[in-house]
Each structure stands twice: as structure tokens, then as C-alpha cells.
Amino acid sequence: MTHPDDLLAGYVDGSLSGADRTAVDAHLRACARCREEVEFAGSGRAALRRLPDPEALDLAGPVMARLGAEETEAAGPPAWYRVAGIAAAAVIAIAVVVAFPKVGSGPSDDRRAATEDAAAPTVGGAETLSGLTLELQQTDYDIAGVQALAGEYVGRTTPSQTAAGSDATAPIGTRAQAVRARSCVTKAFPDFPGTPTRLISASFEGTPAYLAVVLEGPAPGQPADTVSVWVADHATCAPLSFTTARI
């Protein structure tokens, strides 16, 4: 007698139907071995179905912390487009491309530039990114949202270099990511002042984007009287949006 072994699993859990099910029914009437197997298998499945869901746990926290630590250590973006920067001395840095698979069009040159920038953060001026962080938000901004972001600073009499309206609950990117964000916004806007008060990774009308908030006074050293928000495409570093407001 040929046993329908390949059909019995589906027979037991109900996924078998139609002619196949009818055929198994007929076989079972004549085959004690298969009847016994189906009985055991049904019992085994029923036991498994009684298993409760395990207690909830947070894996995202430790996973992201570990990835963040690894990225900080590598001082570069994620592995699939990582370039390695090797500092030969405290001031002189040499970036060596060890792997650069294409992940799409556009961002390659900028990513390389950002990482080189990370290896030599003082290039281009005295200002550095020390203390500046990249907020990782899941917000999808539109123009009204960008204006609202600028509006957070309106009416503040003593805006400081700290991110006054920053989302304290948002995760923070690595320093290399912050460097890349600033580099991207600078590339998008030739007249970008280059000294953002706040950097955000989010999206703009569905497109992953960087947002830079800048506070400026009428002259260097004077209190800020203007806030501007600059929005650049995360991948291509093209300009997406801009707004400004009097504080």
C-alpha cells in the first residue's frame, strides 16, 4: 500500500482540500498506520497551538545601540557603502575607498566627500561640528511643517546654539552622519551659512531629507534675529525646500 505521506501534514492542519482531502479520507479508512500517524500529528499540532506568545521584549534598543557603536568605531556610514578613512596624523587624513558598491544614483560622490569630511572635520574653516548632533526623526515634513519648525524659534529672545526646539526623544545619529548631513545641505544650497543650530534626518513629502535650522544675527556676534530652515534630498543632496522667518 502506498501512503500519502506528502498530503498528511496538510490534512492535519486543514490546508489540504478538494480531491486530495477526499483521497486521504479514503486512504485512512483502509490504513491503520496512517490513521495512527494522523492522530499523533494532530495531537502534536494542538500542543504547539497552545504555546503562548513569549513575553514582549525590546530588541530595537540594544540592536541600535550596538550598530551605533560599530558605526562610531568605523567612523563611516553603513557597511554596504562604507569607505574607510584612515587618519595618518592628527591633522592630515587620508580616505581610502575599500568598498563602494552602487546603491543607486547620485549619492556616491557625496558619501565619499562626507566620510572624508569626517576624517578631517576642520577642512574649509575654523568651525567644526563639535557638539552638533543629527536627530533621527520619522517625521514626514511638508512646507507647512518646515514653516512650523522655523516657527518654534519665533519669539525666542535669546536663541542659543543649543537646539532649542529639538526633539529630546529622537534618536541621535553618529557624528559621521551629522557631517554628511551638513555636507549634503551645503551641496544643495551654495549660500548655506554652514553653521546649523540643529540638524535633522527625516523626510520631506515622502522623500528622505536632511533639515538644517540656522539662527543668524544682523552681524557676527550679535543676537540672532532670523531663523532659516534648509531642506535637502537625503540621497541626491538636491534642494527640496527653504523657509525663513524673523525671530
Binding site: 505521506d5 506528502d6 498530503l7 498528511l8 501534514a9 496538510g10 492535519v12 492542519d13 490546508s15 500517524e37 499523533f40 500529528a41 494532530g42 495531537s43 502534536g44 499540532r45 500542543a47 504547539l48 497551538r49 497552545r50 504555546l51 503562548p52 506568545d53 513569549p54 513575553e55 514582549a56 521584549l57 525590546d58 530588541l59 530595537a60 540594544p62 540592536v63 541600535m64 550596538r66 550598530l67 551605533g68 558605526e71 556610514p77 553603513p78 557597511a79 554596504w80 557603502y81 558598491p101 546603491v103 543607486g104 549619492p107 533621527l136 526623526q137 520619522q138 529622537a170 534618536p171 545619529g173 552622519q177 554628511r180 534626518s201 523626510s203 528622505p208 537625503h234 540621497a235
Partner: protein, 192 residues
């Protein structure tokens, strides 16, 4: 957030760590459940789950999108479990002559608190006693409710092999629960 996996994946591949964090949060419960039922130890399951997500992050650039993200992620998680099982087998030998404070491998697996509440410790322990290949397909089929063809894609084996392992695995589990010692009869795969 209700963004589809595909959107979060696209953002994650562009370097958006928060998007990947969203994927972890969305899938962590299911992946941990799979690892817990395969490994039977909460701590090992937690380690394997974390390792699976770390591996997934590193391999995001290799994900071609011709399979569902969940299928791909389950494949990585199952492989992480197999790695953990291999490590667990080596562990007693590695530590047999050492006098460190590491406890010897316990006989029965440590239960998940939810199992204690539900009174299903015996089922979890019986599951841990049956052959690994059977255990894996049973977890995917009867705990995760995954279809046979998807299990076949996760494990990269023919769907007939999955059906055979599921059937033999259920029988083996039932016999283990009934207290029959050793490997239950009828648990060979018969050429599948």
C-alpha cells in the same frame, strides 16, 4: 508608524538608522518568538534575535526585494539559531576542563515566563527534544502559521521536504509529550 516595510527598507538602505530601528521594532516580537521556540532558552533566543537583526542590517545591500522582507528576515533568524545551536553543542566540551564560574549546560531548557503562566512548559521542553530540522519547521508552521511554500523559501528546501518534516515533527512531538524515550519512531524523512 504605519509605513510599509518597503518604505522603511528604502530609507534604511539610504543610511537612515531610525528607519531600520522601525523595522526592528515591527518584527522583533515575531523573530524572538521563533528563536525562543527553536532554542528554548530565553537568553540564547535574545542573543540570536539580536544577531539576526545585526546581520540583516549588514546585509541590507544584498536584499534584492525578490522575496518578502519577512521571509528574508526569518531565513537570517533561523540561520542565527542554527549557529547558536552549534555553539551550544560545542560549549560543554570547551568548558569541561575549565574551572570558571560558568554553569554546566542545564538539562531541561529554562522556561519562558509566559510558558509558566500558561502551563505549557512541557510542550516547550518536548519541542526542544525533537530533532532540530523538525523543530524549525514546526515552529514556522504551527507557531508562526507560515504557509508551506513560504517555509520552503525561508529554509531554501523543496516544499515536499517541508511537508514531510512537519508531519514527522508533529508525530515526534506528540510522542515526546507522551513520554516515549528517544527519537520517536517514524521520524526519518523517507528520502525527502
Amino acid at each position: 508608524m504605519s509605513e510599509p516595510d518597503a518604505i522603511l527598507l528604502r530609507r534604511a538602505r539610504q543610511g537612515d538608522a531610525a528607519a531600520f530601528g522601525g523595522l526592528v521594532e515591527r518584527h522583533q516580537t515575531r523573530i524572538y518568538a521563533v528563536c525562543l521556540r527553536i532554542l528554548a532558552h530565553p537568553d540564547e533566543a535574545r542573543d540570536a534575535s539580536q544577531e539576526a537583526f545585526i546581520t540583516a542590517y549588514r546585509k541590507l545591500g544584498q536584499f534584492r526585494g525578490d522575496a518578502a522582507f519577512t521571509t528574508w528576515l526569518h531565513r537570517i533568524a533561523v540561520n542565527a539559531c542554527y549557529d547558536e545551536l552549534r555553539r551550544a553543542k560545542r560549549r560543554p566540551k570547551l568548558h569541561a576542563t575549565e574551572s570558571d564560574d560558568r554553569a554546566p549546560e542545564p538539562g531541561p531548557p529554562s522556561p519562558d515566563p509566559a510558558d509558566e503562566v500558561a502551563g505549557t512548559i512541557d510542550v516547550a521542553r518536548a519541542l526542544a527534544e525533537i530533532p532540530e530540522d523538525f523543530r524549525v519547521v514546526l515552529v514556522l508552521a504551527d507557531v508562526e502559521d507560515m504557509a508551506y511554500d513560504e517555509i520552503a523559501r525561508v529554509l531554501e528546501v523543496p516544499v515536499g521536504t517541508v511537508k514531510s518534516r512537519v508531519h514527522r515533527g508533529r508525530i515526534a512531538l506528540a510522542k515526546a509529550l507522551a513520554g516515549e524515550p528517544g527519537r520517536a519512531p517514524g521520524t526519518s524523512e523517507g528520502g525527502r
